[in-house]
Symmetry: C2
Subunit: 244 residues, 2 copies
């Protein structure tokens, strides 16, 4: 099934909802008309990115405007059920970073924050482009929750601002590290940090530990950063499923 | 650390080993000379793809031949410790298929078989290219075991030839399905089937069940085929780690 991402659906649904009209955003409107060749009267399936899912009938379908009247609306439970926040050192190769964003969305993630580390990249990919990857992955996997993509943040600032009750840092250095499945707290929102190719520095790991982050490993394999990110998201989903 | 893939190391190591000479294969030799700019006397780190890992000193480094004398050799335990065989319907997009091969190798897989299904692709990517992806991922993740890439096989032939004691089929259709972590048998080699975008047909699922395959799911999310493959490999590694 083809889904259209229409953030305005969220506002419409707060009122009477059924019978209201929404305009498709430009990119979705273009896709609707020129690729899928929908016409007035066709039924569309919409998601609003924050748990809303609706059906709508096209009432205007021309180059100026693609407008639909909402005929059904329902609200999905939060997905993932327990919030998963992944903070990850950006990967140099843009395709690898976008791949991570796509796969994390498919598997289930609530929030992604690029984090600037001592040994990692500080260059930032295009937020617009990253956002498009998230939207495409959300629609492709039939979800109605769009992961929140936060602004890049310095490691030290993240240490100060993190509020999740379950805070984990994945690293490959010395010291005791638990498995994510052991360290995740069932039913508790979790923030997990994944470092750059050269790993977090010992200073960063120490700072994180003093900020209440539990050191974890992601298994025995040596993983690229983007693979570590995907494995981490999968493990937190498993931990949530076990705890739910 | 930079690793060179030298299959001949396996043969050399069966004899006296230390002190023997090996030639680097053409692609590795070129990389050694023109990219890494190694010279005679330099120490190289070699893997043979079947658990052998060695050190060698360059004794000849010119365009005709790159030859090294083995100075140390050790054998790694099988990796993954319990054999993981993934049979997967090939993905149409070559980049996505190669991405799957890379990530499965990073996380840990013993054998990959492309399988032709009723609803999937029958086109076959370049085996040579796929093999290069596996080799690059093995070296990048510091492994000495190269996953075996089998020839594509028809679904019905795979049903007849599968010998793994633990046989699983992941599908999204009706009927009871267990989680992979529940269905995997600790310490037992496992074969897991992942279907095409349109899923296995009901006939294929029935055939698999009659051939002793246990139906499993890969979690609540709707995953692309290549993501399902990576998630499946990760789950089997987790099951093996729990069972080990």
């Amino acid at each position: 099934m083809e889904w259209f991402y229409v953030p305005a659906l969220a506002e419409v649904s707060q009122g009477v909802g059924i019978g209201s009209e929404v305009d498709l955003p430009e990119a979705e409107a273009r896709h609707c008309l020129t690729v899928l060749r929908h016409r007035e009267g066709d039924v569309l399936h919409l998601v609003d990115g924050c748990g809303g899912r609706g059906e709508a009938r096209l009432v205007q379908a021309d180059k100026r405007q693609v407008r639909a009247v909402i005929t059904a609306f329902e609200r999905d439970a939060p997905d993932p059920a327990v919030a998963i926040h992944l903070a990850i050192a950006p990967v140099k190769n843009p395709a690898r970073m976008e791949w991570f964003l796509e796969k994390a969305t498919e598997i289930g993630v609530s929030c992604i924050t690029p984090v600037w580390t001592q040994r990692g990249e500080r260059r930032h990919g295009s937020s617009d482009r990253w956002q498009r990857v998230l939207v495409a992955a959300m629609k492709q996997s039939g979800r109605s929750w769009l992961p929140e993509l936060r602004e890049p943040i310095k490691f030290s600032d993240l240490m100060r601002s993190a509020t999740e009750p379950c805070r984990l840092i994945a690293h490959c250095g010395p010291g005791e590290r638990r498995s994510v499945l052991q360290a995740a707290q069932p039913g508790q929102p979790a923030l997990l940090l994944v470092g750059p190719e050269g790993d977090f520095s010992p200073d960063e790991v120490a700072l994180a530990e003093s900020a209440g982050f539990v050191p974890v490993h992601l298994g025995a394999s040596r993983l690229r950063t983007e693979t570590a990110g995907v494995v981490a998201v999968h493990l937190l989903n498993l931990a949530g499923a076990v705890g739910a």
